[in-house]
Symmetry: C2
Subunit: 229 residues, 2 copies
């Protein structure tokens, strides 16, 4: 019974990868780099985006749009629309059965609603979840994982795939460090164990600490994509 189950899962992931490649080709044609932004619920993805885009939807001349993924509701998209950022909301509860992650097909269904020709960078804010989003590529060029210091320093060991498949780990809510039992050194030690050498930034979406560095990292994604290795 387990063998059948694993095969079904593999088939689903194969099908997803095929659609992710089609998304990627469409993004490449439009000259849009794509970041898949992932975290646990409440780690601060949307507040970080509000901070990053507080000055407008362009970062150092890089025109940014956002695709918001949520199980239901449009709370996050509404928050960003305030800032006059091009934003499209995807709900995984409508037509997809209440999924705990975005997949390539859901993102594909949103492409017609996105002004791709007017964007250089699309940030896809995934559903808050540390497991399944890591398994489903959506056509992204880079993955950013946000970990809040309130969540505890053991998270890289407990959710290794998520930490292993990202290009940047944002350690958020560092303003809470004096008030939580979170040993930053130990977190980074665990992180290095599951993903040696991965970049990380220490940030507080609440105070703004470190947000400039995140903004600079994001602004460089289109260059990294277009420059052959």
């Amino acid at each position: 019974m387990h063998r059948v189950k694993v095969r079904v899962v593999e088939d689903a992931l194969d099908a997803n990868n095929t659609i992710a490649r089609a998304n990627r080709a469409d993004f490449d044609r439009a000259g849009v780099a794509v970041v898949n932004l992932m975290s646990a619920p409440g780690a601060g993805k949307t507040t970080l985006l509000e901070r990053v885009l507080a000055g407008g939807s362009s970062i150092d001349g890089v025109r940014v749009g956002v695709l918001e993924g949520d199980v239901q509701g449009s709370l996050d998209a509404d928050r960003l629309a305030h800032l006059h950022v091009p934003v499209v909301q995807l709900n995984t509860a409508s037509g997809f059965g209440g999924e705990c992650h975005l997949d390539a097909n859901m993102v594909r269904s949103a492409l017609p609603a996105l002004p791709l020709d007017d964007l250089d960078l699309l940030i896809v804010e995934n559903v808050g979840n540390l497991v399944c989003p890591a398994e489903f590529h959506v056509g992204e060029d880079a993955r950013i994982m946000v970990a809040s210091v309130a969540e505890g320093e053991d998270k890289p060991l407990k959710y290794p795939l998520m930490f292993r498949t990202c290009e940047l780990v944002v350690v958020n809510k560092v303003d809470l460090l004096p008030y939580v039992d979170f040993d930053l050194e130990r977190f980074l030690y665990h992180l290095d164990a599951v993903h040696p050498g991965v970049a990380h930034l220490e940030v507080s979406a609440r105070t703004g600490e470190g947000v400039d560095a995140l903004r600079a990292w994001l602004a460089r994604v289109p260059d990294r994509v277009q420059t052959p290795a």
Copy 2:
């Protein structure tokens, strides 16, 4: 294509419910009440259990055991084993394909390892995730959902099924209230909107505030189960 997908999901949930009923029958036969403990990653489930069971594996004469669900590793089970609590670790990554939730079959596979005859209450600590665990019954009598104030007051609106299907909401990390933008009244307003009248407790696993009330709630679960309505 969506219709096929939804049908597969419904079949999986039907199969899960069948096994959950078998688990429930086994638990009833052994006289064990079961609580399904759920939350986002890092909301503090394990630290709460450490606090609740700090005085030993018996609460007011109710003998407690724990089933720990994690994607991989045994960090949480190791923490509780220290306290001489009967604890069994389930990893969803081994043989199940890296699932983001416990299902009834996984719990069933652990039954032989559990000393059911020596327990009155089994606490099943689910994988940290606010979506899928709510869809998969494991044979529990009651569900407790832990929400950390660091996660934000919008969570009941964004993950309504989780908040709607629990008997108790534990608002954890209230010691952080002075340092986070979390309006407790607004959280409770949102909670009431998705699950009118559900019980809640304000707790800090770090300081111990409110833990006695949680201990008392847990100690009453076997009575509630055995008393006909």
